[in-house]
């Protein structure tokens, strides 16, 4: 590191205004953050509540997990990767719209189309099943294997 010169100089102080404005900004930020945590939702990002894994789950809760399986034109059955790089849809999106999909299974066509568009050289989906796995807790312990339930079936249109 050529050219490095060490200098111990006196501190550079802020003017009254610069200091005042900075302290006010910092305090305002803290107020916004606390307000977000106490009252707001994720919508207020970055001032929303830090609510990841902040929920309460009872000791006898049923834990559900929604997934989609596909039969392919290669004769295999696969789990559909529910992310934007896989089938172009996130799992959260599918979970949020489960009710709509059950009423109208043709919405699953978008999943098959998304997969085919992103992975043209891979086997195509011919039949999709929306499945909900339910794991039951007894006294806070997992009680047996998850029970799958087929919520919707869709024969993919070519």
């Amino acid at each position: 590191m050529a050219g490095v010169v060490m200098k111990e100089r006196a501190g550079v102080r802020l003017g009254r205004v610069g200091k005042g404005v900075r302290v006010v900004v910092a305090l305002a930020g803290i107020v916004l953050l606390v307000n977000g945590s106490v009252r707001a939702s994720d919508d207020a990002w970055p001032f929303g509540p830090m609510s990841q894994y902040a929920g309460m789950i009872a000791d006898d809760a049923s834990i559900t997990y929604t997934r989609i399986t596909a039969q392919t034109d290669a004769g295999t059955t696969v789990d559909v990767p529910l992310n934007i790089e896989g089938a172009g849809v996130a799992r959260a999106e599918i979970e949020a719209r489960t009710g709509e999909i059950v009423k109208n299974p043709s919405l699953l066509q978008a999943v098959a189309d998304g997969w085919a568009r992103k992975h043209p050289d891979q086997p195509k989906y011919v039949k999709l099943e929306l499945i909900r796995d339910t794991t039951t807790l007894v006294d806070g312990r997992v009680d047996g294997d998850p029970v799958p339930e087929v919520l919707a079936t869709w024969q993919v249109r070519k």
């Binding site: 590191m1 050219g3 490095v4 010169v5 060490m6 200098k7 111990e8 100089r9 006196a10 501190g11 550079v12 102080r13 802020l14 610069g18 200091k19 005042g20 900075r22 302290v23 910092a26 930020g29 803290i30 953050l33 606390v34 977000g36 945590s37 106490v38 994720d42 919508d43 207020a44 990002w45 970055p46 929303g48 509540p49 830090m50 609510s51 990841q52 894994y53 902040a54 929920g55 309460m56 789950i57 009872a58 000791d59 809760a61 834990i63 997990y65 934007i84 790089e85 172009g88 849809v89 996130a90 959260a92 999106e93 949020a96 794991t135 807790l137 806070g140 312990r141 997992v142 998850p146």
Partner: protein, 315 residues
């Protein structure tokens, strides 16, 4: 009153800001490819876009291929410039809003992550600090390397303090959210939340832990107590502060193992607590020491040579 004001504006060496600029602007580039990496894909498929409050407030346009690609290029270019500490304020004022928008789009499909607060705050406060040389400086070589600049500045201290507060807020407010999530009771640590999380994101470490719910409860208690006490770290000094930081870094290692949630954008901001300004002096001292050792060694060698010469002469 003055004490409170001074707490927000401690005098900290400008070198720490320079190091943070380099590290954080490079981290943003990593983040764009490894963590919030679907912003451009959202530009291609804006169907799921649900704009968050800030996007609605500023009437930001819906993501498109054109605007997300522009954002990408602008961020890469100005992060690289900012990382060199050349025109750091100009680069910083461009990166801060651009990256905020980038993350805003990335989190606009119904799922919001909470690991970006400190990083986003850091990007907004870094450009408020003027570098050691006043005004525009077009000379390539600087008489003081920004990484060695020991000028202590209140402006730098304020920026550092803001990042530190944001890091700590990430933990403390998580504890608040847990109280709120349990209807403002202390029910969370005794609940089956970690079991729930592991069942939904199964992997070997977690599945082994599922057999021991009491261990998960202990972890929940340790987590929430740690989060509650985290503000203490702002007032700790030296080794004790390091210990506090290591506790939370260990917390993240455990979270990564159990939940596969790494929180790296927050972890990297712990560096705001580190005395990075001491790196160059430490390095120079070491080099000076090894040079003086070498000089001493050479002196001995010369003495040895001299003796040999004398002996030869005497032979």
């Amino acid at each position: 009153m003055n004490k409170v004001v001074d707490w927000f504006t401690p005098q900290i060496a400008l070198a720490r800001i320079a190091w943070l600029r380099t590290i954080l602007y490079l981290f943003v580039i990593l983040d764009m490819h490894a963590f919030v990496r679907d912003t451009r894909l959202k530009g291609e498929h804006p169907g799921l876009y649900q704009p968050l409050f800030l996007a609605r407030l500023f009437e930001l346009p819906k993501p498109s291929v054109a605007n997300t690609t522009t954002l990408y290029v602008v961020l890469i270019v100005f992060c690289l410039i900012g990382a060199t500490n050349r025109m750091p304020r100009l680069a910083g004022w461009i990166v801060a809003p651009a990256f905020t928008w980038w993350v805003l789009i990335g989190m606009s499909d119904g799922k919001v992550d909470h690991d970006h607060l400190a990083l986003v705050v850091a990007l907004w406060v870094l450009p408020t600090v003027a570098s050691g040389t006043k005004g525009w400086n077009f000379t390539w070589r600087r008489d003081v390397s920004p990484y060695a600049d020991q000028t202590r500045s209140e402006a730098a201290g304020w920026a550092i303090r803001c990042v530190q507060i944001s890091v700590i807020a990430t933990y403390f407010l998580s504890a608040i959210a847990k109280l709120r999530g349990a209807g403002w009771t202390l029910g969370w640590p005794g609940s089956a939340i970690l079991t729930w999380a592991i069942v939904r994101r199964p992997h070997p470490v977690g599945e082994w832990l599922l057999q021991y719910p009491w261990m998960l409860h202990v972890m929940q208690w340790v987590g929430i107590i740690g989060e509650f006490c985290s503000p203490v770290i702002l007032w700790l000094k030296g080794r004790w502060q390091l210990l506090g930081a290591l506790f939370f870094i260990g917390f993240h290692v455990a979270n990564t193992a159990i939940l596969m949630i790494h929180f790296l954008p927050t972890v990297i901001c712990w560096l705001a607590f580190a005395p990075l300004e001491r790196i160059v002096p430490w390095f120079q001292q070491r080099r000076a020491k090894s040079r003086s050792d070498r000089d001493a060694g050479e002196a001995e060698d010369q003495a040895e040579d001299g003796r040999q010469a004398k002996e030869q002469a005497g032979a």
